[in-house]
């Protein structure tokens, strides 16, 4: 270090590095001044003090040992050529004790040297250790303290040690320079960090350390500052730099940032870099990155393929998450659910994706026909995770497939997990209403009426009959929270696995044949457009007939059939023939939706309908009659209504099940068995089996034990 110290301060300013010599920002501690290095053409600076000492003593053996040691430490170092001309300093007398101290120094035994110096001074108060040795000791201790402080994130100590021992800050101690640079960064002095790296890249020659410097910079500096440092890349010379990996990394970071932010676009060049990186290896990371980029930039097909590649490369949970997300984005819900299910336990994100995908699967409009196994495996996950959205989705799925009791249970379960969840309360209210559960319905309304306009609306519809609710703005964005409108029925399966295996509880649920409820073929465009506009309750009497008709359909979509009746009434009063016919049709459907079968029958008569619609309405009315009779235990009437209905339309499987249970209840086990066998042949084996078992149980009473 003595070699270096002389030349220091000059180069500092010329490197634009003077800032480092000024006061540091925190607490007025002086910042370390980086010692200027020798010009970059010189070899790395090596602590030659011990070597020079031994040479000055003519101790050839120790000189050779020290040269060997330094060569091992610094492969690029070559010993100074002027050693033979020593002693250069003041004439010193051969002192074996000092020899021993330098030897200890070579072994890094600092504490022992300190002790020995003290010991020598105790016996010889006049003796003073060589200044070079003291400097070397101070520097070695400073380095150790600085490294210890840095290892323990004591950044201000790092900076104060560096300030007190500027001789440490040379290209010999690149590690120390890195630690000082980091301490600057960790004390919010990033410009000083950059200055330290600039200093290092300007002065220090080892290409591995130069590349390491940029790698450090990547972790501590903003990308622009790292990019600025790239200009120090040395193209020529015996030991040229290759900073291309840094450039790649910068490109990769830009893509990474854009990969989760669809408002950011990565350049083609950057994407090409990442693609190249992805191709050159079997490591999945960059493929996953590209996958997310594609996923968030509206290219889920590509994303899917990339995630597939990543999975093939053992990309693990992150790749699986992306794969499931892409499938969902492509509306391939069934596959997405099945895939995500397998990965749900791998990471919290995978579980979240699974729940989202399952929710999306259940929330489709129209409700899909699902493999019972799928629903059965969603249920425990949703339950275990207390996933409110999932419970709601199961609720709407049950609701939209006519399983109102199950729907109500799910909504109530969702409410038990999140008591203030209005959509769940709304669902519970509608399901209770469909079940004619006045007590339960009133309980929900009492609790929610002040908080939810749409629940209040539902309640008012019931309480006031045909009186429209007062016109007032809705307090909730109802449309956004509205369940999927009743849709063409898919004969439902048991969505909520029943524990009562022998009791055919699903049968007690209304399974309405509702292909014809609420989604008439006419005017799809106007209705879908109006959907958003009818969330706010309006008085239809002020509307034109056509507008009232549109409003009626819109309210049907929002599942507010009694309000829809009022709107259809307005349309019937003033409209053209076609409007009247349409409105009467809508009104009939609205009553059917409310299980007001008698009113529906009347409404159907208000305006002549086409033969097709007439058949459709009659079939629906008869089905509802049958269901109402079934609910009330009037099984003969069920058989009659269904018989009448089967003369105009083919009987649907779920109604066949109802007919089967009616026979069963009437003790007509042979008829019941025939019906259930027929149902079984159509593929509804679960429902049919329950019925068949019940019949067989009745015919052959349980074994006596």
């Amino acid at each position: 270090m003595p070699v270096i110290r002389g030349t220091i301060a000059i180069a500092v300013a010329s490197l634009g590095f003077a800032a480092l010599a000024q006061q540091a920002g925190d607490g007025g501690h002086p910042a370390p001044t980086l010692a200027a290095a020798t010009p970059s053409t010189l070899p790395p600076q090596v602590d030659e003090s011990a070597l020079r000492y031994f040479a000055s003593q003519g101790d050839t053996r120790r000189v050779e040992a020290e040269i060997a040691r330094l060569r091992a430490l610094y492969p690029n170092w070559s010993p100074p050529t002027d050693l033979s001309q020593l002693p250069a300093g003041p004439i010193t007398i051969k002192d074996p004790e000092v020899d021993r101290l330098w030897a200890l120094y070579g072994e890094n035994k600092i504490a022992e040297i300190r002790a020995a110096i003290t010991e020598r001074q105790a016996s010889d108060p006049q003796w003073k250790p060589p200044a070079d040795l003291l400097t070397a000791l101070d520097t070695a201790e400073a380095r150790r303290r600085l490294i210890n402080a840095s290892d323990n994130a004591q950044w201000r100590t790092v900076l104060s040690v560096a300030t007190e021992a500027p001789s440490l800050l040379t290209c010999t101690n690149v590690d120390v320079l890195w630690r000082v640079a980091e301490a600057f960064a960790k004390t919010n002095q990033q410009n000083r960090t950059r200055d330290a790296y600039t200093y290092l890249l300007t002065n220090c020659t080892n290409s591995a350390e130069r590349l390491g410097t940029l790698q450090k910079a990547l972790t501590l500096l903003p990308e622009q500052q790292v990019t600025d440092l790239l200009r120090f890349e040395r193209k020529g010379g015996s030991d040229p730099d290759d900073f291309s990996s840094i450039r790649d990394d910068l490109a990769r970071r830009r893509v990474e940032r854009a990969s989760t932010d669809n408002k950011l676009t990565a350049s083609a060049d950057d994407l090409a870099v990442v693609e190249r990186l992805a191709e050159g290896t079997s490591e999945p990371g960059n493929v996953i990155l590209l996958g997310y980029y594609a996923y968030h930039h509206k290219n889920s097909e590509k994303a899917l393929a990339l995630f597939k590649t990543a999975l093939d490369r053992d990309g693990g949970a992150k790749a699986a998450e992306g794969y499931a997300l892409s499938l969902r984005d492509l509306n391939r819900f069934v596959e997405a659910e099945a895939f995500a299910y397998e990965w749900r336990d791998k990471a919290p994100e995978n579980l979240k994706v699974y729940l989202d995908v399952a929710t999306a699967l259940l929330s489709q409009d129209p409700p899909p026909r699902l493999d019972p196994q799928v629903v059965a495996r969603v249920v425990p996950v949703v339950t275990q995770q207390r996933f409110v959205d999932g419970a709601q989705a199961l609720g709407w799925y049950s609701y939209n497939t006519g399983q109102f009791r199950t729907a109500r249970e799910w909504f109530q379960r969702a409410l038990s997990w999140k008591a203030d969840d209005e959509p769940s309360a709304y669902g519970a209210a509608l399901a209770s209403q469909r079940l004619n559960d006045r007590v339960g319905f009133n309980a929900i309304v009492t609790q929610w009426r002040s908080r939810s306009q749409r629940i209040a609306d539902v309640a008012d519809g019931i309480n006031r009959g045909r009186t429209p609710p007062p016109a007032q703005p809705s307090t909730l964005p109802s449309a956004a929270m509205t369940p999927a409108a009743p849709a063409p029925v898919v004969p439902p399966r048991t969505a909520y696995a029943s524990s009562q295996a022998t009791e055919p509880r699903v049968i007690y649920e209304e399974r309405l044949p509702r292909a014809d409820l609420g989604a008439p073929p006419a005017q799809p465009a106007s209705r879908s457009g109006a959907r958003r506009n009818c969330a706010v309750t309006r008085n239809p009497s002020s509307l034109s007939a056509d507008a009232a008709l549109t409003l009626g359909w819109c309210l049907m979509e929002l599942n507010r059939p009694l309000e829809a009746v009022t709107a259809f009434d307005r349309a019937i009063k003033g409209g053209s023939d076609q409007t009247r016919e349409e409105a009467a049709y809508g009104k009939t459907l609205a009553y059917l939706r409310k299980d007001l079968t008698a009113e529906a029958a009347l409404a159907a008569a208000e305006s002549p309908q086409t033969a097709q619609r007439r058949t459709e309405l009659d079939a629906t009315i008869l089905a509802q009659r049958a269901l109402a009779a079934f609910r009330e235990g009037r099984y003969v009437e069920v058989i009659l209504a269904l018989g009448e209905r089967s003369r105009i339309v083919p009987e649907q499987t779920d109604l066949m099940v109802i007919r089967g249970w009616s026979y069963y209840k009437l003790g007509r086990y042979d008829d019941a068995e025939k019906i259930f066998l027929a149902v079984q042949r159509t593929g509804y084996s679960d429902d049919a089996n329950v019925g068949l078992n019940a019949v067989r149980e009745a015919v052959r009473p349980s074994r006596q034990y």
Binding site: K109, I110, A111, E112, R114, A115, A116, I117, T118, E119, A122, E141, R144, R145, N148, A149, D151, N152, A153, Q154, W155, R156, T157
Partner: protein, 370 residues
């Protein structure tokens, strides 16, 4: 001996009437609560024989100046480094003092606030395995440096002592309800850090060091810390067992309680309190007589004792622990040190340290007991 929380649930130790008793005791002892009333400060230098010191040094101190706690996985800690410095000073071993100081400075004194990281583990990476400080370690280091700096006229030591003394005052002095106390560490024991904070450890009051450090950092209220340390001690010894728990919650100032999460024990920490008091010249605390009764007259010996039930958990038989009771009975009753104690047989770091500190005190203040 550093004792960490053990998770043993706290038991209620205070009688409802304790507050009244405390107030009375505090008043009665008020005249003794400043160091100006104490006898001459210890000189320390030259009070440990080279034979004893070499036995200790060769067993517990390595060539790098690391004091090794061989009962705790051969770790080192700031307390051990402080004791090592103090004993080296007492033995007049400047080279070893320099070694220990070199290790302490480069390995432990790395905290941004100027205090020492308390725990150093040779098998950990980084070796400092807990960056928190321990204020007794800092006090011992600063105290030894101050004594050595003055005796050996070495300004480096004095300057370092002063820096640490100021850092202790700045970072580890607390004040609650107008009284000063010493936090055991910078993190984890304050009012905000735990529901029953502040929590203190009365054995961290190295009383003899307080006047010395006060001279180096007079801007901090060392006198208040001294006073309140004695006051807390008197208060904590009014329970049925008449012993303080190692870790005390002082959240309710007039009714201190064993701290949550620590065994409610008069244990390895607190058993050095009488030694510290005697070394500081505080010999007339009534509690010392009570403890002496327990240790020597009743023949119970030094032990880890549950302060709530008064039950003995662990009798401590190492020579170093026995030296504590021998020192106490010597100081109070002039009883000679039994011959068997005079032969130093170091086994474990902590009791061996207590042994040398005891013998050093006896050599300087009570030579008649030898």
């Amino acid at each position: 001996m550093i004792k960490r929380p053990t998770g043993i649930p706290r038991l209620l130790s205070c009688l409802a009437v304790a507050g009244l008793v405390i107030a009375f005791c505090t008043l009665a002892d008020a005249r003794r609560t400043t160091w100006s009333a104490t006898v001459n400060p210890l000189k320390i230098a030259g009070t440990i024989s080279s034979v004893d010191w070499n036995a200790y040094r060769s067993r517990f101190i390595d060539e790098s100046g690391r004091v090794i706690d061989n009962a705790n996985g051969n770790i080192s800690h700031s307390e051990g480094q402080g004791y090592g410095l103090l004993l080296a000073f007492a033995a007049g071993d400047r080279p070893t003092f320099e070694k220990i100081w070199t290790f302490t400075r480069t390995e432990l004194l790395i905290r941004d606030d100027g205090l020492a990281a308390w725990k150093w583990d040779p098998s950990a990476k980084p070796r400092v395995s807990d960056r928190n400080n321990a204020s007794d370690g800092d006090i011992l280091i600063a105290y030894a440096l101050a004594k050595a700096g003055a005796a050996w006229k070495d300004a480096r030591y004095t300057a370092a002592a002063q820096k640490i003394a100021k850092a202790i005052g700045k970072n580890n002095f607390g004040r609650s309800a107008g009284t000063m106390f010493l936090l055991p560490a910078t993190k984890g024991f304050g009012t905000e850090d735990r529901p029953d904070g502040p929590v203190v450890n009365l054995s961290y009051w190295v009383f003899e060091a307080i006047p010395v450090l006060a001279a180096l950092a007079p801007e901090y209220d060392w006198n208040g810390v001294w006073k309140n340390g004695l006051s807390l001690l008197q208060q904590a010894t009014t329970g049925r067992a008449r012993l303080p728990a190692d870790w005390l919650s002082i959240r309710t100032r007039l009714q201190t309680q064993p701290a949550e999460g620590f065994a409610p024990e008069f244990g390895y920490n607190s058993l050095r309190i009488p030694l510290y008091l005697l070394r500081a010249g505080v010999t007339d605390l009534e509690w010392l007589r009570t403890l002496n009764q327990r240790w020597s007259v009743n023949n119970e010996g030094v032990a880890v004792i549950n302060v709530v039930t008064g039950q003995v958990r662990d009798k401590l038989t190492d020579q170093g622990y026995a030296a504590l009771s021998a020192t106490l009975v010597c100081a109070l009753d002039g009883q000679p040190i039994p011959g068997a104690f005079k032969m130093f047989e170091p086994k474990l770091y902590y009791p061996s340290t207590l042994y040398l500190l005891s013998m050093s005190l006896i050599a300087e203040k009570y030579p008649q007991c030898l």
